[in-house]
């Protein structure tokens, strides 16, 4: 049994559909620590000690957010800036996160095809996510392929939410295949890399 930390960040939950659906669906999975970052820190006064302890207490950190301007919402950046301290997450003696996994679960407004050399976003989605990937690498963490819902404004999100509970369950039950997830480009609800014998 791995300990899973699910951090959810959406500043405009009144207009969120898919992300909110994921958050609500995640509540039904037992043994997962869920944190609504904007509810805990509506005034951005992040408690570094509490957040570092949270990281220490878990093996897999799932960061869920909508992609805003090719990056995360501001509070997630603030959370990373403050929590991933020198001497804790990286640098001299900073190996507290070594061996853990950092995984992103995100939604994009644009369709899959936009995220390509020929598409109007001009880059692959993974290119935009390299800051997160390198953050994980610098902290000696694994960075499995992100779990993505493209075209989130049009999608109804039900499949994506169902897939998310399956993902969390597999992470918790050690039936998630990190090797395959590391090799994959992106994960969707129907391409989850589960180990043999695990029920999807």
């Amino acid at each position: 049994m791995a300990k899973v930390l699910h951090i959810f960040a959406h500043p405009g939950q009144g207009t969120s559909r898919v992300n909110l659906a994921l958050w609500k669906a995640a509540q039904s999975v037992d043994g997962i620590t869920g944190v609504d970052l904007y509810a805990v820190y509506p005034r951005y006064d992040i408690d570094i000690d509490v957040e570092q302890q949270r990281l220490l207490d878990h093996d897999v950190i799932v960061l869920q957010f909508p992609l805003f301007w090719y990056s995360c919402p501001a509070l997630v950046k603030e959370w990373i800036d403050l929590t991933f301290e020198h001497g804790f997450a990286y640098g001299q003696d900073g190996d507290c996160l070594k061996g853990k996994h950092l995984m992103l679960a995100l939604t994009t407004g644009g369709p899959h095809g936009a995220y390509s050399q020929q598409g109007y976003q001009h880059f692959e989605l993974r290119t935009f996510l390299t800051p997160f990937e390198q953050t994980a690498r610098l902290c000696q963490m694994g960075f499995p392929a992100p779990y993505v819902q493209f075209d989130a404004l049009a999608a109804d999100g039900a499949d994506h939410a169902r897939g998310f509970t399956a993902l969390l369950t597999a992470l918790r039950d050690d039936t998630f295949d990190f090797r395959r997830a590391g090799e994959a480009e992106l994960l969707t609800h129907d391409t989850l890399p589960l180990k043999e014998g695990a029920r999807p």
Binding site: H10, T15, V40, G109, G110, L153
Partner: protein, 639 residues
Amino acid sequence: MTDFLLLAFLFLAAGVVSVPIASRLGLGSVLGYLIAGIALSPVLTLLHVDVISIQHFAEFGVVMMLFLVGLELEPRLLWEMRARLLGLGGLQVGLTASLVAAAAFAFGQVWQVSVAIGLIFALSSTAIVLQTLNEKGLMKSDGGQASFSVLLFQDIAVIPILAFLPLLAIPGLAGHDDSHGAEEGHGAALSLVDGLPEWQAALLTLAAIALVVAAGMYLTRPAFRFIAQANLREIFIAAALTFVIGIALLMTMVGLSPALGTFLAGVVLANSEYRHELESDIDPFRGLLLGLFFMTVGASIDFGLLADNTLVIIGLTLGVMALKAAVLMGLARIFKVRDEQSWLFSMALAQAGEFGFVLISFATANSVLPDDIAAPLTLIVTLSMMLTPMLFIAYDKFVLPRYEEAEPRDADEITAPSHIIIAGHGRFGSVVNQMLLSAGHETTVLDHNAGMLERLRVFGVRAFYGDATRPDLLHAAGIENAKVLVVAIDDKHRSTELVRYVAGNHPHVHITARAMDRNHVYELWGAGCRDVIRDTFDSAVRAGRSVYEALGTHPFDAERAARGFVSENQRTIRELAGLYDPAVPNHENAPYRERARELLDEQAEQIRARGRGAFHERSERGWTPPTPEDVKAVARRLE
């Protein structure tokens, strides 16, 4: 009675007319008073006024000034000054006295007279120097501090000099006019030590000093607290005067310098919460008495004598001053008073002083000085005092520019700590104070609750008793050097007046004022405060936000809605402030009423239109995704 009123009127009027003119011309108040005195002198002669006895009365201003100087000087600082006080002061008095005496001897005086003259010119004018240094803000500079050490030593040295002078008596002069007795300034009419054996006298003197220190440390606080509870300003002033005069009297009775006694009392009270109140109560008396003193100095110039011996008198005056300045310059070198500060020190103390008058009349009475020498000596002392303000002007004009260009001044000379005054230490002011202290700032708290102040001081808060709305108390608390004033007093009307006064007279001070309600906001704004904080508003907003959250609003949405409410509320307040009229109640003020109703209607309209809270429009601007159609349109255009 009429005589008294006439005199009071003459002196006051002369000062009122001449000092502002002198200040305007950059001459300083001392020169203004001196000139006023000269202008008055024919009138005074006509009225047969005894200028010298008025002068002795006015010398009490010096006593008060030393009390005030003591208040500014904590015991620790006095202790740090000890090397300069004894070394610099002692050498200055000794060297100057010897050199002047030698010069007098060379001019053919007998040695007794020469020594007396030396001692007379060894002293400088505490009144002129301290007054001018304070006026120019130079008291804290190195030269100012050195000057003060020397002056304090001279004040102490006067007593042994007075004891020593009669030993120089010349037999031929005996039986001289004794009418001035043993100098009134230190008049021994009521003496406790006369006729006692020496060891008893010494014991009594020590006991008197101990009494002053002990009373200052233990008696004043309960006494002043008791008096403060009466809440009558004049009684507090009366108490302060009683205190100072009482100490002066006691010191005189045991044969000590009253100036020294009150200075000691001042030092003892330097840490007291009543310090600023005492300062502002005594200060006007000090100012008026010193002004009177300077005028009497001006008025006592014997122009007949000056006209007869113009060259000799002026030559001797300049000679004495040059000699004194040279000694001071040499000492400045030895005691490491540097650069322009050494000039300040030498030029400031080059004159002879009011104690010179005392010594001259005392020496004459004791048959040490013949009359025909005393008269020109008095004139020389007076002239040297007259020249001092001009030396200060010369210092500003010729010495300072040279050093300012040559090198930047020492940093520790000009570093004034960023100073914050907090008026009112109640539930509001105390929180502000705690925040500032916790961030390492220095604050000065003014409050009129004597009991609470004592508790505060236990915790190391610099708190002082007094009504913060009084300009003189603000001055004593250092409003001139303050960066910020926090107005947190409970009385609406008075806090507005305080803001009006400070905004008008000290525009460099940032004022943060607490408003009790909406109208008070308008009034404070009108009074010139641009940082008005409503005292219960922020906590009420937080309560409202808590209720939002309790009703299930997401905390981040609640936060944003609260912020939206605050800025909307501030917008309406700013708009309505322009329509506010302090003379008309808001509900009778037609434009105000109308606009307020319009703003309310606007809000109601927003609520109806959206079917939700009025401030949601602001918060919805953020993170609202485009519709799927928008997305497709964008994609089509870009692909």
